[in-house]
Symmetry: C2
Subunit: 242 residues, 2 copies
DNA sequence: CCCGAAGACTGATGTCGATCAGCCCAGCAT
DNA sequence: ATGCTGGGCTGATCGACATCAGTCTTCGGG
């Protein structure tokens, strides 16, 4: 093992990477940069920017409507790409805001595409990672389109827990969560007021407690049932591609 | 030019492919198959299946909830992949239903990954196509999360028009559309009853008429304004990668 | 020490869209 | 010719969630 960044850990879960491949991956990381919470790193409509890999902290990608509403599309945690799609499509269709202070490493598209040429398996790995992100957005769409506020919140908190558990940042008891109720509202297509009420209901039902930057699963099984949560697509075991 | 399938047309818009690359792409197409409208080709939870490229007709990908509701995630038109994500993630997180009778060509994953090794630029092209699909799902998420029923419908019809126009199947006057009002309801997170009312309102407002398998834009500009539709991310000009 | 801002929280009121319960028409099978 | 099915269409009613208009606490800055 040459490197053990969150990215390597994530991709390694899918493709067993050789040492040369790992070193190509490591060479992608250019400048290390930091951004403060709340100050966008990418703006909707912006063009010609770099992509990043999140090293520490949380970020979110969102779209703004002309009437001022916003929809948070996804949250990113360490190991996730920031703005990869923007770079490939050559213009950003969304903005990215750090939820906490974050550290990232810059990746130049040219380098990434070169790396694909040198080590095509890396291309497969990145395609896989992109598919995984898309699956997340799809699940989010179902959440917003077909579940009521309570189920939606429950499902979201569970899914995030599962996702964090994969990188060792949470378990069935709960996880640290720096999101505000406003973040939840913007992500779930609810008003902040209603988010607050729904959280109270879930808490009073003894299922989950969201408080002081921490999500505590008070009754994991009941919550799973209530949210119709199916964790199967999250857990797969070991590299698929040898 | 060796081939001029919808797929080549689509990918060619992004990556200028050489003749050897085109022939690799052509060699991916295996068996040609047909499926009848309404009979799923991929079931949620299914594993080990092939991917397809849609040659003619329309399909939709959707997720089923345990309470019987369904959310249509996206519609596919000729040139689009069917089930690529399912294959990469090794299990299908969604089902796919032909909206009309369809023709597809089968693609074996192994062949696809081999092709990446032979011609890495192909990998980039497929990654780009996947990003474009993801952008579509993201826009759909915003639709469902933050727009009211009228705007949602208007935006959806416009976006689909733009998408069809790209492959020569529609323009600012309208397009042929085989969807039922039930399809629209399942896609937009509305009830079929409400879809009907909303369509009536849009028709009576003189903006768009959905009838007899045809969408007619009666007042394109007004509709664009009403839906806050921003077509910019759809139109890009010529291959980005030389 | 006070002020302002951010975030959590709450009650009252209003509305958008779901649900229920139908009708109508065209196409098709019996 | 009769009934059945799928799709489009409609009125009445109801409830989930938005909106408005606040309060309270904490925290950092002047």
């Amino acid at each position: 093992m040459i490197d053990n960044t969150p990215l390597v850990r994530k991709i390694g879960a899918f493709v067993a990477l050789s040492d040369p491949e790992l070193s190509v991956l490591a060479s992608l990381h250019k400048r290390r940069r930091t951004f403060v919470a709340g100050r966008d790193l990418v703006h909707q409509g912006q063009t010609e920017q770099a992509a990043y890999i999140l090293a520490s902290g949380w970020a979110c990608s969102y779209k703004l409507l002309s009437d001022g509403q916003r929809q948070i599309v996804d949250f990113q945690i360490p190991g996730d790409f920031l703005g990869l799609r923007s770079v490939l499509l050559h213009v950003s269709d969304h903005s990215i805001e750090p939820v906490t202070d974050i550290e990232v490493t810059e990746v130049l598209v040219a380098d990434l595409l070169d790396a694909f040429t040198q080590t095509p398996r890396l291309a497969t790995a990145v395609l896989w990672a992109a598919s995984r992100d898309e699956a997340m957005v799809v699940e989010h769409l179902v959440d917003v389109g077909r579940r009521n506020a309570g189920e939606r919140m429950a499902h979201f908190l569970l899914e995030f827990g599962a996702r964090l558990a994969l990188v060792g940042l949470g378990n069935k008891d709960g996880y640290a969560c720096p999101l505000t109720q406003y973040h939840l509202a913007d992500a779930l297509g609810l008003s902040a007021v209603h988010v607050n009420r729904v959280l109270r209901q879930l808490r009073e039902a003894g299922m989950v407690t969201f408080r002081d930057g921490f999500v505590a699963f008070d009754d994991y099984d009941q919550l799973v049932k209530f949210a119709q949560f199916d964790p199967s697509y999250m857990d797969h075991k070991g590299p698929i591609l040898r």
